[in-house]
């Protein structure tokens, strides 16, 4: 199996005034192409920090992070932005859609920054929205649709640049359980279609959708188990 990403002895230290906070204290694991991995842990376990580093939003303090055979810690801000654009598809708990832009425009946005021509952008964005079942909501705005639909727009946006990893951070955190189930089924389907998915959550039921669960505790890996 081909490796998508690899983390070696990663540490991350914050300085909050004079207090040193060690959010990650030496974490190593790797993820292969097509895997569906959950990162689980209580709040303060370092999972958000880990997610930000995996998502190329932040740099690690120590250790190595390879994504697509590139040492991410050696990339500058611009290259990092390029990596986020091409390699990562984000799904946030808060959806993070641009409130005044249409769904189409929201899905187009990663392609805007990738420099894809307008015509192709529109075609792909409509296709992506159809794939998540929102073909009839293309020109609606986020405040005109439900929470579950918003998250589906966000998933369409995450998929549209064909990223190496889809990084979902508590994707069901702001949804009722029934809608959360719908979203998890979409994510499961994406995995079955061959996408690599990393799911960050503190809910065991949600984590159970993944084939592999990495438990974090106090900035270290507590358990790395493969579900049966």
């Amino acid at each position: 199996m081909k490796k998508v990403m690899q983390i070696e002895k990663m540490t991350k230290t914050y300085h909050l005034g004079k207090v040193k906070v060690e959010a990650l204290r030496g974490i190593s694991f790797e993820i292969n192409e097509g895997e569906f991995v959950s990162i689980m842990g209580p709040s303060g376990s370092g999972k958000s920090t880990l997610m930000h580093i995996i998502g190329c939003l932040d740099y690690a303090t120590g250790g190595k992070y390879f994504l697509a055979d590139q040492d991410v810690n050696n990339l500058n801000d611009n290259q990092l932005a390029l990596f986020r654009n091409k390699k990562i598809g984000f799904v946030f708990q808060q959806f993070n859609l641009l409130p005044r832009a249409t769904n189409l425009r929201n899905v187009e946005l990663p392609m805007v920054y990738a420099g894809i021509p307008a015509k192709e952008r529109k075609k792909k964005a409509i296709k992506a929205l159809q794939d998540v079942g929102l073909g009839d909501r293309v020109n609606h705005r986020p405040n005109e649709i439900s929470g579950g639909q918003k998250q589906r727009v966000a998933i369409a946006r995450a998929l549209v640049n064909h990223p190496s990893i889809i990084l979902a951070d508590e994707p069901t955190g702001n949804l009722d359980s029934k809608t959360g189930l719908d979203i998890m089924n979409i994510i499961k389907k994406l995995h079955e279609e061959g996408n690599t998915i990393i799911l960050v959550t503190h809910e065991a039921e949600i984590a159970r959708y993944a084939k592999r669960v990495i438990h974090l505790k106090d900035g270290l890996i507590d358990k790395d188990e493969v579900a049966v």
């Binding site: 939003l57 932040d58 611009n78 932005a81 390029l82 946030f92 993070n96 990738a114 946006r157």
Partner: protein
């Protein structure tokens, strides 16, 4: 990428119409004020200039300087006596740029018609006086060469004087008596001049004109005049005409320092007037420019609020792959579109304001392209200058913090 930034910026401005309008207002008023004020300045200058030019832009007046007595004594040998009639021909032949020289003898007396008598200035002069002053006859005739040669006691009236002395009656053919130094002379009115208004020598409409020979030989026994009016061949040659006359007078009066006479051209007066109005325009334009600056600070304020308000949006855009320069350009384009849009509206606004002011002040509407270019350029500069800091603030946001921002 710039085009893409511009598009994103316009989308954002369009979705916040009210805020866009309010933050534009400062620039609109600033640019409008600059354009209106500069237009009023140039328009009114043109009006005054053309009025002065109407008086004869190639006209030059030569008059004696009043020599002040020292320690209370009247100094002897005033130069007025030297302003003799033969100077007319000397000056004409000595100064190649001068077309004609007209002598002017001024008589202050009491004019008496059938019903009214009033103090007025009577000008003894020659036929060329009217031509040199661009002064036209309304009814009848101006005093002629024959009148001068024959020493006819005829008089042509300024329009105001004619109205004062004869009300609405036709004065031509009537008799006017002039009381000068206790002696009475009677004149026949032969004409009335058109309205002219003020000139270098005062209000021509309130004067009367008689043949020079009558004024000099009959009414006074002076062999000198009060001043000369010289007319250059063209306004371009007025400056050299002044030089030539000055040179001649210096030689003639043996007056190196030009203490005994002065030569004034319309050009000089024009220069003074336009330098005064230019200073005014510059000052008011400066004040308007300050309002532009204040408008710019308003834009910066709005942009800073907008950046803070949209922190999450910035975080999201960065997470989706926006580079720092994409964000910088987006916000810079926003402030630039604000200021340029404000500039365009301001140009229209200033144009309309200048139009109404020109109607009110009765001067020509002049919108100089330079004032438009400068005001608009300044607005753009302000958009960039005051937009840069908020845009940089947005671009340098840490994506993690920006995404977490509530």
């Amino acid at each position: 990428m710039i085009l893409q930034g511009l598009k994103i910026a316009l989308e954002s401005l369009w979705t916040n119409k009210m805020r866009t309008f309010l933050s534009m207002l400062g620039i609109v008023i600033g640019v409008g004020a600059v354009i209106a004020i500069v237009s009023v300045g140039t328009g009114s200058t043109q009006q005054v200039t053309s009025r002065i030019a109407d008086l004869g832009s190639n006209m030059i007046t030569i008059s004696p300087r009043i020599i002040r007595g020292q320690l209370g004594r009247v100094s002897g040998g005033g130069s007025q006596e030297k302003f003799t009639l033969e100077l007319t021909d000397y000056m004409e032949s000595f100064s190649p740029s001068v077309k004609t020289v007209v002598p002017v003898k001024q008589i202050n007396g009491k004019l008496i018609s059938d019903s009214i008598n009033m103090d007025a200035t009577v000008i003894g002069t020659r036929v060329d006086y009217a031509k040199a002053n661009n002064y036209e006859i309304d009814r009848g005739a101006f005093i002629s060469e024959d009148d001068d040669r024959e020493r006819r006691q005829v008089i042509t009236l300024g329009s105001q004087l004619a109205a004062d002395l004869f009300n609405n009656e036709n004065p031509i053919g009537k008799t006017i008596k002039i009381n000068y130094n206790g002696r009475i002379f009677s004149f026949t009115v032969i004409g009335v001049m058109k309205e002219k208004g003020g000139s270098m020598a005062g209000n021509l409409d309130e004067r009367a004109y008689i043949p020079l020979s009558v004024a000099m030989d009959r009414m006074t026994t002076h062999n000198y005049v009060d001043s000369f009016i010289a007319q250059a061949y063209s306004s371009e040659r007025a400056t050299s005409a002044v030089k030539e006359i000055e040179h001649f007078m210096i030689k003639y009066l043996e007056d190196e320092d030009m203490e005994q006479f002065r030569v004034v051209s319309q050009d000089e007066i024009l220069g003074t007037v336009s330098s005064v109005t230019n200073t005014m325009t510059l000052m008011l334009g400066g004040i308007a420019a300050i309002s532009l600056l204040v408008g710019g600070i308003g834009i910066m304020n709005i942009m800073l609020v907008s950046v803070t308000e949209r922190t999450r949006e910035i975080g999201t855009r960065k997470a989706l792959g926006a580079k720092n320069k994409n964000i910088l350009l987006q916000f810079l384009m926003e402030s630039l579109s604000l200021s340029s849009l404000g500039g365009i509206v301001g140009i229209g606004f200033g144009w309309v304001a200048a139009y109404f002011l020109s109607q009110y002040g009765n001067w020509p509407l002049v919108i100089s392209s330079i004032s438009i270019i400068i005001a608009f350029g300044f607005a753009l500069f302000i958009g960039i200058f005051f937009g840069l800091y908020p845009a940089m603030k947005a671009a340098q946001m840490n994506p993690v913090d920006a995404l977490r921002y509530e």
